[in-house]
Symmetry: C2
Subunit: 240 residues, 2 copies
């Protein structure tokens, strides 16, 4: 899970003897991994509930159970830690689109994706919130990723969906906006979980309520994506 691209003794620290710092040496990896893991998990929690600006390194260190100075040993700057957290999250967030292949059954793929995203919002609410917060403030750290990998991914999946549409196997919904909608709806149950709980009249959204939310989301998208039953039922396409 670690190995986030941020080597520990940063440029500054490695000022004097810069010989074999390239690889952190295959030696003592246990301690580093352990502490980085602790710090990453603590940081995710704290960033999730306070945002980047609102989080303090002291609090993260306390939550991780290590002295602040030790945190700075692994992550020289607050931003390094934040980046590491985001990198972890992106890896998770990107997945789950495998179902969208030309041969797949469109509605089944859609349902699987919605369910996967709902599961994500249940299992990794902190990750979702950190991600949301980053987007909300203009994605200063992951903008390049959004314009790169994510954009490419969406474009390729949109092509698949467009093909399904022209075959009449799914309703003619704009695929890109469909993705935006799915992300929005599923993440709302993590990011704005406070609002959901408040409107539902509970302190915390229960597992059961989350399951109901999942069914509601699935129903919404499946109903919307259901191809118009009528159509012209000709050979290839339909009402083009």
């Amino acid at each position: 899970m670690p190995e986030t691209g941020c080597l520990a003794p940063s440029k500054k620290a490695a000022g004097k003897a810069a010989k074999a710092v390239v690889t952190p040496a295959p030696r003592m990896r246990r301690v580093r991994d352990r502490n980085q893991g602790l710090l990453l998990r603590a940081a995710e929690r704290v960033f999730a509930r306070a945002g980047f600006a609102g989080a303090t390194v002291a609090e993260i260190a306390r939550e991780a159970g290590v002295p602040k100075a030790n945190l700075h040993y692994y992550y020289p700057e607050k931003r390094d830690l934040y980046r590491a957290v985001l990198d972890n999250i992106l890896a998770l967030w990107l997945g789950e689109t495998d179902a969208f292949t030309p041969e797949a059954e469109p509605l089944a793929a859609l349902e699987a994706y919605v369910r996967a995203k709902m599961r994500f919002s249940r299992d990794y609410p902190d990750a979702s919130r950190v991600f949301a917060n980053e987007l909300l403030h203009g994605a200063p750290e992951i903008g390049a990723y959004l314009r790169g990998a994510l954009r490419k991914l969406v474009a390729s999946k949109a092509a698949v969906i467009d093909a399904w549409i022209s075959e009449g196997r799914i309703a003619p919904l704009d695929p890109v906006h469909l993705f935006f909608s799915i992300w929005a709806v599923t993440q709302t149950y993590a990011d704005f979980d406070t609002q959901v709980a408040a409107v539902l009249g509970v302190r915390q959204v229960s597992a059961r309520q989350h399951a109901e939310a999942t069914e509601a989301a699935v129903a919404l998208f499946l109903r919307a994506a259901r191809p118009d039953a009528v159509a012209s039922r000709t050979t290839s396409g339909k009402l083009a």
Copy 2:
């Protein structure tokens, strides 16, 4: 627009001569209104792009064009200013549900609501973002509002929709989750506008693209909410 419940010379300032402080006096209202307006608008912008913790009163004051000390004259604490901004936003956010009356045409009401919410995300993106940020961090300031007015509102509108459902005039979607979904989808175009722009491959979402997003959202919800044409077609024949 001002008159946000936060009178200027707070408890502290009004320590000595506390006689007729109840009403700010109908006198000099011009200056106060003007400056509070400037500050509120500046604060909304700054809070929108930096969040509560990330925003600095100095920046808000600069953006409003007044000295920092003058800001503190009207809003003794940063939180007072934040509350005032939120109060303004809530008033806006609450509206637009008038269309949901028992007599209304369900799909028309739904469409009107979605369009209104999309318009909101276009016209008040900063308000939307401040609101989103507040929710994201657990709604420390407006939690009571969510559990009170908002919850009641949703409950009453959900009852209307449930009635529509039992009359077969709209698809059997959970009304409360329908609201969550509509809010999620429409606000995503304000709150996560960075992501939308990135995936669309543009720097800024254009007016035209926002219009397309609106049509996509309307299509999504109308298709999902369309009652199943078949049904039982009994006594109170609906589909008029």
